[in-house]
């Protein structure tokens, strides 16, 4: 559903298309044997090819092709049997060849689709236009040495998959949901680590506004947005800017803009007139990339279960709500954690523990599930102690806190602190008797029809047993004795 922008002169529709650059997970670069790893000392991952020494030639890294095909299959896209590498020519200090090897007219992957789960259970299909493989550039460092620009070529030639969406997105929220979903799918596929901070996933947003139902307006491209939050902010700002421009009688100028996250604004980078003429042509150093049916099917056979299918299975197999299933399926690590906890246990309880206590704890600590101080096995064991009546839910939460603090398992904490739930009928009966004996007034109220007063007795019994009495048994015994 399009979220319309209310302007001074009426409603405006926002039209967004995203171009996402995702670094394909590979050992080596797209056309050389140098490491594609992040974070090394400057200019240590540079081969003769990456430095564009005279006479050096590119050779395609098969692993990068496989990752692009895998990504295409994961996005239910057409895989092109023949694709071509082109040269995109421009001069820049961090582009040693003077051209980027990319795919222009014949990309490796064609049309596909991503389904977004929007709030309120709505789902939206967003078209993928294409995915092509290309080289990343190096990095120019302007602030290290006054008067000099330094260049780090470690990233030069690293394989990128450029994933281009149709202009199907209609709000900053949808754009954010698209990016999150794409990231989730790539991580499921193992084709990109989705790390936006390290730059292994970056996003350009094409933004325009129009009156609902009218042809597309003039677009601006916001370059290199490096977080989902910034994407939402940048689009919201840009949409407002364009509406205000048009409503004040001016025109939107087609241009490339940058998002300034500190000030929360987009700024002009270069206009269409200043745009490069990239002089694309097929790279004569490389043959067209030809893929066989068997090769593609071989990759398809190794695709993992993806978030949409996993969510559907969580609903069907575990009886989770759509919402909970969606949350648990969004990240492969979370889904795997959940399934490890739920296996052979009450899935609903597992879901509640993972999305409730565990997520809360991880958020407070600011850690990812991969670094969770409580493992899936430990959480499962804790839930087992609830199921067999050893712990009450309330005490289990205390035990969980202790597990987070110490990293120890539930059983040993219960043992050490003597937190075992009291399910001994005799002991509970004695505490119930003592509570009844000490509360004549309350007994009278209860017997007079005030059933709410039962809580007072439960409190007394729990106080007497330091909270360890099995609450279900306490309730039963109380009712029996008070009713008698």
């Amino acid at each position: 559903m399009a979220a319309l922008i209310e302007g001074r002169t009426g409603e405006w529709e926002l039209v967004i298309g995203l171009e996402v650059h995702a670094q394909a997970i590979t050992e080596a670069k797209l056309f050389s044997g140098a490491s594609a790893g992040f974070g090394a000392e400057a200019n240590t991952h540079v081969s003769l090819i990456d430095a564009a020494m005279p006479g050096m030639l590119p050779v395609i890294n098969e692993r990068a092709v496989e990752q692009a095909v895998r990504t295409g299959l994961g996005l239910k896209a057409e895989i092109n049997r023949v694709s071509v590498f082109d040269r995109k020519n421009y001069f820049y200090p961090d582009l040693p060849q003077g051209y980027q090897i990319s795919q222009f007219s014949q990309p490796v992957v064609g049309k596909g689709e991503i389904v977004l789960d929007m709030e309120g259970g709505e789902s939206r299909a967003v078209g993928i236009t294409r995915i092509h493989l290309e080289q990343d550039a190096g990095k120019s460092v302007h602030d290290r040495d006054p008067g000099h620009t330094l260049v780090d070529l470690n990233r030069a030639g690293v394989p990128l998959m450029e994933i281009v969406s149709e202009p199907d997105l209609r709000s900053p929220e949808e754009a954010a949901a698209y990016l999150a979903k794409l990231r989730s799918i790539l991580r499921y596929l193992g084709t990109c680590d989705g790390n936006m901070e390290q730059g292994s996933m970056r996003c350009d947003a094409n933004v325009s506004v129009r009156r609902p139902g009218e042809p597309l307006g003039t677009r601006c491209e916001i370059k290199n947005v490096n977080s989902i939050r910034f994407l939402r902010q940048a689009i919201a700002y840009e949409a407002q800017r364009q509406v205000e421009l048009i409503e004040s009688g001016e025109r939107v100028v087609q241009e490339t803009r940058l998002y300034d996250a500190e000030r929360g604004v987009t700024r002009s980078m270069r206009s269409k007139e200043e745009a490069h003429d990239y002089r694309y042509f097929p790279d004569p150093d490389l043959l067209p990339l030809t893929l066989t049916e068997d090769y593609i099917e071989g990759i398809r056979a190794t695709l993992p279960e993806l978030p949409d299918e996993k969510k559907a299975r969580f609903v069907a197999e575990y009886g989770l709500t759509e919402y909970d299933a969606g949350v648990l399926a969004a990240e492969r690590e979370i889904a795997e954690f959940f399934e490890a906890v739920a296996r052979g246990r009450d899935a609903k309880a597992a879901s509640n523990w993972v999305t409730g206590e565990l997520f809360g704890a991880l958020n407070r600590r600011g850690v990812e599930i991969a670094d969770s101080p409580v493992s899936a096995a430990s959480l499962g064991a804790l839930i087992d102690l609830i199921a067999d009546g050893t712990l009450s839910n309330r005490i289990a939460k205390d035990v969980f806190e202790a597990m987070l603090e110490t990293g120890r398992d539930a059983a040993s904490i219960v043992e050490e602190k003597g937190l075992k739930q009291v399910s001994d009928t005799g002991a509970i009966e004695a505490a119930v008797d003592a509570a009844i004996a000490g509360g004549a007034k309350q007994v009278a109220q209860y017997r007079g029809g005030n059933e709410k007063i039962l809580g007072w007795f439960v409190g007394q019994v729990m106080k007497a047993t330091q909270g360890k009495a099995n609450p279900q048994m306490v309730n039963e015994i109380l009712k029996k004795k008070l009713g008698g």
Partner: protein, 490 residues
């Protein structure tokens, strides 16, 4: 010592095998010859110490019974090949002082076969030129002169230094590269054999790129047999070059001596171009007659789009060159002329570093690839290229090899053509079509024109039938009885 420089590679191989001479003696004789002929300007880098060390190592290998196919044979290397530890500039100012830390695949193979490197030969800057006059190091002088005329002659180009060095007996063989005729045309001008193999036979890895889809390395020698021996040591699949052919290397030398009896030789009528030297037209007829006498059948074939080859070539080659030469920006190696901004530094460096012809081709190439012109020029030229390849394929349905002259004219005097780029480009009119089609071709010296300058005949064959080229060329060579006698001015 003098006779050592007059040997062919095959003779030197036998002499070395018999122990009649050592690799060191061969190297010393050639080092002396190079020093004595510096006026030719054939070499831009001489590597005598390296040559002697290579030769001594070769003699030791031979003593140990482990000599390779070219062991001890002194050769010269065109400056387009990157040679580890030896300055490589493609004869351009922009690569000033560049010493590669790596060795091209072709020269590494030659080394592995035992060849001894004498030095790097002069050439047109980035292989762009047909006269060797675009070299940053000045033109090479052709060892031949017009009869009764002492003006220095152009050796052809771009492999002019290699051609002159082989003709002047400064080396037994030399590497060349051929993009549109850069091996065959200088071979014709200098009276030697120059062979451009099928595109993909030799790896391009480590060869400074001019036009990637056309560049191909090949041997330049004094005999057809020598070219076959030397190509055997240069060719072969290289996984580092995606366009190199994953095929076994045939024994090219074994293809010799089989004659042309029963072969059909195509004579393309469209190669009788306007302005062709009448001596060349006559030589062509003579060549055809020699093959007929040797038992071949002559077949007239038609290659009607030949006239579009040169314009297509002068779109495709500059387009690729404009992109290939983008890496020379002063950032990482070679010449740098400072500026206040990176863009200004590029402009200053490239303006100072590239010569006029290279700048011209970069401009043409950038133009034909630019938005709005791409379809009209580059794309159309590629279509022409496809049609030309198709025409050759059709012609080879009717014949086994094609005979043509190598160039429409003999060598010209230095300076005679340099101000007329179109006339200069016409030098390639007979070699360029086969380059566009990726076919193997050879130039064999077959006679002299009225001025006493050498003329070559060209033999073309279908892709990867390089052996056919050698086989036909050998018959022409024997029939012609060409005598290499340059420096005959008087």
């Amino acid at each position: 010592m003098a006779e050592l420089t007059a040997l062919t590679i095959a003779e030197a191989r036998d002499a070395l095998a018999r122990g009649d001479c050592s690799a060191r003696e061969l190297a010393e004789a050639h080092i002396a010859a190079i020093e004595a002929a510096r006026d030719l300007n054939a070499f831009v880098v001489e590597t005598p110490e390296r040559a002697l060390a290579d030769a001594d190592a070769s003699d030791r290998r031979r003593a140990a019974g482990a000599a390779g196919a070219m062991d001890g044979v002194p050769v010269a290397i065109k400056d387009l090949f990157c040679t580890e530890g030896v300055r490589t500039t493609a004869c351009s100012h922009i690569l000033d002082g560049f010493v590669p830390p790596y060795e091209s695949t072709v020269t590494a193979r030659l080394r592995a076969s035992g060849a001894v490197m004498l030095g790097k030969t002069n050439m047109d800057e980035f292989a762009m030129g047909s006269s060797n006059e675009t070299s940053h190091y000045g033109p090479v002088r052709n060892p031949w002169h017009r009869r009764g005329d002492n003006r220095p002659m152009a050796p052809g180009g771009s492999s002019g230094g290699s051609a002159a060095a082989v003709a002047a007996k400064l080396c037994l063989g030399a590497t060349g590269t051929d993009t549109g005729g850069s091996i065959r045309q200088p071979a014709s001008f200098c009276g030697i054999v120059g062979m451009k193999p099928t595109y993909g036979r030799c790896s391009r890895w480590g060869i400074v790129a001019f036009a990637s889809s056309l560049d191909q390395a090949g041997p330049m020698t004094r005999t057809v047999r020598d070219a076959a021996i030397m190509l055997g040591a240069m060719a072969g699949f290289d996984p580092k070059d995606s366009t190199s052919a994953d095929l076994p290397v045939p024994d090219f030398e074994a293809a010799l001596g089989r004659g042309v009896k029963g072969m059909r030789i195509g004579i393309p009528k469209e190669y009788r171009v306007d302005g062709m030297d009448p001596d060349i037209a006559a030589l062509w007829d003579r060549g055809a007659a020699w093959l007929k006498e040797a038992g071949a059948e002559l077949v007239e074939v038609s290659l009607p789009r030949t006239k579009y080859a040169l314009p297509a070539y002068y779109i495709i080659a500059p387009a690729e060159a404009s992109s290939n030469l983008s890496r020379y920006d002063g950032m990482r190696y070679g010449l740098r002329v400072e500026g206040r901004t990176p863009a200004e530094m590029y402009e200053n460096t490239r303006a100072a570093g590239f010569g006029a012809e290279v700048r011209r081709r970069i401009l043409i190439g950038s133009y034909v690839l630019s938005a709005g012109y791409y379809d009209a020029y580059y794309l159309k030229a590629q279509k022409v290229r496809t049609l030309i390849a198709g025409e050759f394929a059709a012609a080879f349905e009717r014949c086994d090899a094609i005979l043509t002259p190598t160039a429409p004219n003999a060598a010209f005097a230095l300076g005679e053509m340099i101000d007329d780029p179109i006339a200069m480009y016409l030098n390639d009119v007979l070699t360029v079509p086969a380059s566009l089609a990726g076919l193997p071709g050879i130039s064999v010296p077959a006679g002299l024109n009225a001025d006493g300058l050498p003329l070559g005949l060209q033999v073309l064959a279908p892709a990867f039938e390089d052996e056919t080229v050698f086989r036909v060329a050998e018959v022409l060579e024997q029939a012609a009885g060409f005598e290499l006698a340059p420096r005959g001015a008087g």
